[in-house]
């Protein structure tokens, strides 16, 4: 990507681009306590980021306390959860003012609110763990390629290019279908298809860093290369990793929901947001709540991680403030 004005290649939510923090900027960032304090102060003042953090907090709480918050067992199919004609029941708050099924029921007569609350668990676990895996792979490949130079550099970055040519969702679909869907397989597959973007960003930064004085000095003093990499270079990558660790979750929540929507996500009876939409979509005209509420949950979750991720990027790198 030598030709693009590099600071534009910022990674944004949901769609992989490169570079959360510009390599140029990384040069003047010294990760220290005061830097982190400053960052935290800037973040505190960013109302959008704080909104994102609060929303994430609420979603995490909903996931942890789902058993307490849910009015019902999310897999229990209630007799009164279907109408006489076998249709899903609309919100009982609206129909008779009771709290029986606050958001209505699904086509099997299960409580939708309980299923959405429990569904937060799948989305968050997959989103966070798959992204942790992707960031780990991406950081490893990007930093090794950038720091050790050829031939590793060419091999690893060409491999990254090849992986990037595969459409993300299509590749994930194929791998999940071949390996048989389960939550751990989905985490593994999303991690394996999503690391490429992170590898590119990290690589770009490490290439810029490897010529810097403190790195050259460390090498000149005879430190082993691995020591220089872990002690001098990796700390410089922390801001990028933090930003990607947040924004990438948004993307991975979207990928998980998409796979579940296609029926190759977490398997029933475990509720997942994409799966609820898939099961309810044939009712989209007569029972639109089956599509609307789980979709809102997906959107708000992704939105929250995007808000916080944007805010973190601005806070960690003030020169970019207000640009996106």
């Amino acid at each position: 990507m030598a030709v693009a004005s590099s600071d534009l290649q910022e990674r944004e939510s949901a769609k992989p681009t490169t570079c959360a923090i510009d390599a140029r900027v990384a040069e003047h960032i010294v990760v220290s306590d005061s830097y982190l304090t400053m960052t935290w102060r800037r973040l505190r003042r960013d109302r959008a980021a704080m909104l994102g953090a609060v929303l994430i907090g609420l979603i995490v709480l909903a996931a942890i306390f789902a058993p307490v918050l849910s009015p019902h067992d999310p897999t229990k199919q209630y007799r009164d959860g279907l109408t006489k004609g076998g249709q899903p029941v609309p919100s009982t708050l609206v129909t008779d003012g009771s709290l029986r099924f606050p958001l209505g029921t699904d086509p099997n007569g299960r409580d939708l609110l309980s299923r959405i609350l429990y569904g937060a668990r799948v989305s968050l676990i997959v989103g966070v763990l798959a992204n942790a895996l992707a960031v780990a792979i991406g950081t490893f490949i990007g930093s090794v390629a950038g720091f050790f130079g050829n031939p590793l550099e060419t091999i690893l970055m060409r491999f990254t290019d090849i992986m990037m040519a595969f459409p993300t969702l299509l590749l994930a679909m194929t791998l999940v279908a071949i390996l048989k869907p389960s939550m751990w397989i989905i985490i593994l597959v999303i991690g394996l298809v999503y690391w490429t973007w992170i590898a590119r960003v990290i690589y770009g930064q490490v290439v810029a860093l490897r010529e810097r004085d403190f790195v050259v000095a460390s090498r000149a003093l005879g430190s082993p290369r691995s020591y220089t990499l872990t002690r001098h270079i990796l700390p410089q990558l922390v801001p990028t990793i933090i930003v990607w660790g947040t924004l990438g979750i948004a993307t991975n929540v979207m990928l998980e929901a998409s796979l579940s929507y296609l029926g190759i996500g977490v398997q029933p009876p475990t509720p997942s947001w994409g799966g609820i939409i898939q099961q309810g979509q044939s009712f989209y005209r007569t029972a639109p709540w089956l599509v609307i509420f789980p979709g809102l949950a997906i959107m708000v979750t992704i939105f929250a991680f995007n808000l916080l991720g944007d805010g973190l990027r601005d806070a960690l790198d003030p020169s970019q403030k207000g640009r996106l």
């Binding site: 004609g85 076998g86 099961q279 007569t286």
Partner: protein, 315 residues
């Protein structure tokens, strides 16, 4: 696709041409029926809309409801442990809440307690079958040596409403400690796997079994007899009882109707004792059409074939 009648035949048909469109989703087809774009739906009206249209007076003479000579069932692969144990198979029969399935089908079906459907000669109105009784099911599992249940799987086709029904089985079996995995596949894959003994349980919804010929043998020979227990055969229970099979072969040769039907009653009771299936429901065939379309009293035959030659459009 267009069907144009042959000119060499007098009288029937009344229609000059029939245009058949394939690959239209049922909910889209229903809306097009409402707007008058089409005259007849090939699929039954979708479950999400059925309650609305069946309760709407304006629809009364535009939908036809016909009992279908069919039994829809869970085939239990008797060669697959632990289903090689008849107690486990009987436990399954007590565990499924069939009323719930009828409700999930918007009432388009009746609970089945035996292999033959009520409209088939040989149907045994005195047979009571297995009642819905999770406690008894649990006791049977314990007796069979599975007090804590076990894990198993069922194959279902990926067409509504089948996955929903399988989720209902999943919930029912969870109550007696059986952890059921649902494998949702396309119809040819389910038929392949079930016909080659690659799945412990098979949900026949959307696939089988609707009568081919009005004789009780149709519910034994092709789907439970030894001759159909071959690779690729429709004997999804992978069941072959030599003794019963000999009796069934004998029944084919009996000409006395009463004696023969009595023989079938005994045969099917024995099969139910062996619990080779969980019979779930007998189907109801529904079809929606425009008010202009008229034809044979019901437009359909019990074998769910549409008889275009008997239809006409009112101007």
């Amino acid at each position: 696709m267009s069907v144009i009648p042959s000119t060499s035949y007098e009288g029937l048909p009344y229609l000059d041409q029939v245009k058949i469109e394939v690959g239209v989703e049922p909910d889209v087809a229903l809306l097009r029926l409402e707007t008058g774009e089409i005259h007849l739906m090939g699929d039954p009206p979708p479950g999400a809309e059925w309650t609305r249209i069946s309760n709407d007076p304006a629809w009364q003479d535009r939908i036809e409801i016909q009992p279908q000579v069919s039994t829809i069932y869970i085939a239990i692969n008797v060669t697959w442990p632990p289903f090689d144990n008849v107690l486990v198979r009987r436990a399954l029969n007590h565990a499924i809440d069939k009323e719930r399935i009828i409700q999930l089908l918007n009432g388009r079906g009746t609970v089945a307690n035996q292999i033959l459907p009520p409209l088939m000669p040989g149907y045994d109105p005195d047979y009571k079958g297995y009642d819905y009784n999770p406690e008894k099911a649990k006791a049977l599992l314990a007796e069979a040596g599975y007090p804590d249940g076990f894990e198993t799987s069922i194959e279902c086709i990926a067409v509504e409403p089948q996955p929903k029904l399988c989720e209902s089985f999943q919930e029912d079996l969870a109550q007696i400690g059986i952890k059921l995995t649902i494998n949702t596949l396309a119809a040819p894959n389910v038929i392949d796997d079930a016909g080659n003994g690659r799945t412990p349980l098979t949900w026949s919804g959307g696939l089988a079994w609707i009568q081919d010929y009005p004789d009780p043998d149709d519910f034994y020979g092709p789907i439970l007899g030894c001759d159909s227990n071959v690779p690729g055969g429709w004997n999804w229970s992978r069941y072959c009882n030599k003794e019963l099979h000999a009796k069934a072969m004998e029944l084919l040769t009996i000409t006395d109707r009463e004696k023969r039907l009595q023989g079938y009653k005994e045969l099917f009771r024995a099969l139910m004792d062996d619990a080779v299936w969980v019979p779930i429901f007998n189907g109801v065939y529904t079809v929606a059409h425009s008010e202009k379309l008229r034809g044979e009293a019901t437009l359909t035959h019990p074998e769910h074939s549409l008889r275009y030659e008997t239809m006409w459009l009112e101007q």
